[in-house]
């Protein structure tokens, strides 16, 4: 990356015997929406707090804007944080909360500070809420106040620690798009910590998937979804069918014999974690498979037959579990419910079409 804003260089963190961060290295660009995604306990919040300055690194370096942050305390870093609990000061009103960080700014007059607070509240959709006491705010409003309070200081980096986890589903979805829009509008770097893979996919430019204190994969959402680097990443992000296979590598191509699908030859590009020899696992997303229903004219290039063992109807989609001939486990297939398209029933025989280019191959 040319001219990154944040550089993490072999960051390690120990709590007594517990190795929380095991050598994290990555670069985060200016104006990037970057997410740290992983299950609880994977070290994502620790890493965020390390960038904020609330945790010291045991070894390694954190650089922001080319400057080593080792001796820079949290209050002097060009970062601001939106806390999981929002940490709204209960003894202050909304304007008091948003203006808290401005109080120390001697370069601004009282009028300028007031104007900045009003502007920040407008930006998060809380115009006119300045006099509202903190305890009279709803969850969504508290979150907006926390955002305004951080953004009013114009930090180089905004850190967000699971900011949407306390909101209900509808509010969360609304805030996801709103946060994304806000980030594009202010143009500063956002680093989001989340355990919700969907949220990370929706909002991020790039995502670092973390397991047990390490980055398992760092990639753009599409790459992460289509070409997960390991079976573990694939399992964490979305749904994927795994079929056992045997593979023979020769040069740039991999010859595979996949249980239930048959023989196929792929490019090694479809093995993001490296081309395995011998026992392998072939991964396929549910939407890359399709059930051929009442369509005599369809002649898919690759198809197999199977038996429908489960049907789940979602309204817009139907999810089928189909036992393929020769495969140990049924595969999950998602189908759009287009007008006139029939829904199969349990026990029906199904013709399943698949696309070799959608396959991802992992070592077994």
């Amino acid at each position: 990356m040319k001219d990154p804003l944040i550089v993490l260089d072999q960051v390690q963190k120990y709590y007594d015997d517990y190795h929380a961060l095991r050598g994290i290295s990555c670069e985060i660009g200016k104006g990037e929406f970057f997410s740290l995604l992983g299950p609880s306990g994977c070290g994502k919040t620790t890493l965020l707090r390390t960038i904020a300055g609330f945790e010291d690194v045991s070894s390694g370096r954190v650089l922001i804007g080319g400057r080593d942050m080792a001796d820079v305390p949290a209050n002097l870093r060009p970062t601001n944080m939106v806390f999981q609990s929002y940490a709204i000061f209960p003894h202050l009103d909304v304007a008091g909360n948003v203006g808290f960080g401005l109080r120390k700014r001697s370069d601004l007059s009282a009028e300028q500070k007031k104007a900045k607070v009003i502007e920040a509240l407008e930006m998060v959709g809380l115009a006119g809420y300045g006099k509202r006491p903190a305890h009279a705010l709803s969850g969504g409003q508290r979150q907006r106040v926390a955002l305004a309070r951080a953004l009013v200081l114009e930090p180089e980096v905004l850190l967000l620690d699971e900011p949407l986890s306390a909101l209900d589903k509808k509010m969360r979805e609304q805030m996801q798009t709103e946060l994304r829009r806000l980030q594009r509008h202010v143009g500063i770097t956002f680093i989001l910590v989340t355990h919700d893979q969907e949220e990370a996919l929706i909002m991020s430019d790039r995502i670092a998937v973390m397991f047990e204190g390490e980055i398992a994969q760092l990639a753009a959402p599409q790459t992460l979804y289509r070409r997960p680097a390991s079976r573990k990443v694939a399992e964490f992000i979305g749904v994927m069918n795994f079929l056992s296979a045997t593979s023979t590598v020769s040069g740039d191509s991999v010859a595979l014999d996949i249980a239930g699908l048959g023989k196929v030859t792929l490019s090694t590009e479809q093995c993001p974690g490296g081309a395995p020899s011998g026992a392998a696992v072939a991964g396929l997303r549910p939407e890359t498979l399709s059930v051929v229903i009442d369509d005599a004219t369809a002649t898919p290039s690759h198809s197999v037959t199977g038996k429908v063992v489960e049907v789940v109807y979602y309204g817009d989609m139907t999810y089928y579990e189909v036992a393929l001939d020769g495969a140990q486990k049924p595969v999950t297939i998602s189908m759009k419910n287009l007008p006139g398209r029939r829904v199969l029933e349990i026990g029906d025989t199904a013709k399943v079409a698949w696309d070799p280019s959608a396959l991802v191959i992992f070592a077994a």
């Binding site: 904020a52 944080m81 003894h91």
Partner: protein, 270 residues
């Protein structure tokens, strides 16, 4: 019989037993007679008037106020230190140390009084004064202050201080601008409770006062003179009212604190 009648009778009897003696204080304080007995002799306020003319009593009130105010301030400061440390940090032997701080709460006061007397006079060679009373009272009031303030500090979200630091404050600034305003109701409450306890306390004060008695010690001395008993009743009436007022104010501040931090009320002294 209606359901719960037995329990209701019990509750009423309980309250009568608890408060009848206290209710007798104002009755005899306004009774026109030196003998504490029924039937009453008629209404008078002369005992209250007589209070004004006893110089030794005024001295005792001044002594008690000095001791109570000093004790309240010291106990609350110690309470803030202990409560913040216990709510924020983990350190070796934390449970044991906090336990030792709370022990005077259940230690018989006569033991504390005698032990302090031995230590102050025999071992340290100091003479008894109001400061030795302050010493003893601070010892027994600090646990109350710690208990009240721990509730205040524990009710605070840890990330509030971090948020203040994140927004540019130093650790000290965050404490004064965020933590302290939020625990102020607890501090006021701790001050008032310590003040009330110290003002009423007799046993420790009895052992540790020198030539300047506190009010309870003075009152004890007056009980030897039967003609002074109605005056003591009048003074007692004033003290009861004062205690009730202080306790109410303390509880008011505690509840306001709970509301302000948006926490759930987990019960206090009232």
């Amino acid at each position: 019989m209606k359901q719960g009648t037995g329990l209701r009778i019990y509750a009423i009897a309980y309250l009568i037993f608890l408060y009848l003696p206290v209710a007798l204080l104002p009755i005899f304080a306004f009774n026109d007679g030196t003998v504490i007995a029924f039937p009453l002799q008629g209404f008078t306020t002369k005992w209250f008037v007589e209070l004004l003319s006893i110089d030794a009593l005024h001295g005792a009130v001044r002594n008690s106020l000095f001791v109570a105010i000093t004790t309240a301030i010291l106990s609350t400061i110690f309470g803030i230190f202990a409560a913040r440390a216990s709510s924020r940090y983990r350190f070796p032997l934390k449970g044991g140390i906090l336990g030792l701080i709370m022990v005077p709460l259940v230690l018989p006061e006569i033991i504390v009084g005698v032990a302090l007397l031995v230590m102050v006079v025999s071992l340290m060679g100091l003479s008894l004064s109001l400061w030795t009373v302050v010493l003893g009272h601070t010892l027994i009031c600090t646990p109350f202050a710690v208990a009240i303030l721990s509730a205040s500090f524990n009710g605070l979200d840890r990330s509030l201080e971090e948020a203040a630091i994140d927004l540019g404050e130093t650790a000290m600034g965050a404490f004064f601008k965020v933590t302290l305003p939020l625990v102020t109701p607890g501090i006021v409450s701790a001050l008032l409770i310590s003040f009330t306890i110290s003002l009423d306390e007799f046993i420790i004060a009895f052992f540790l006062t020198g030539s300047e008695p506190t009010l309870p010690v003075y009152l004890w001395g007056q009980l030897r003179f039967p003609q002074r008993i109605p005056v003591v009743m009048a003074l007692g009436t004033i003290l009861v009212i004062l205690s009730l007022v202080l306790l109410t104010v303390a509880e008011f501040f505690r509840r306001r604190g709970v509301r302000r931090t948006g926490a759930k009320d987990t019960g206090g002294f009232l």
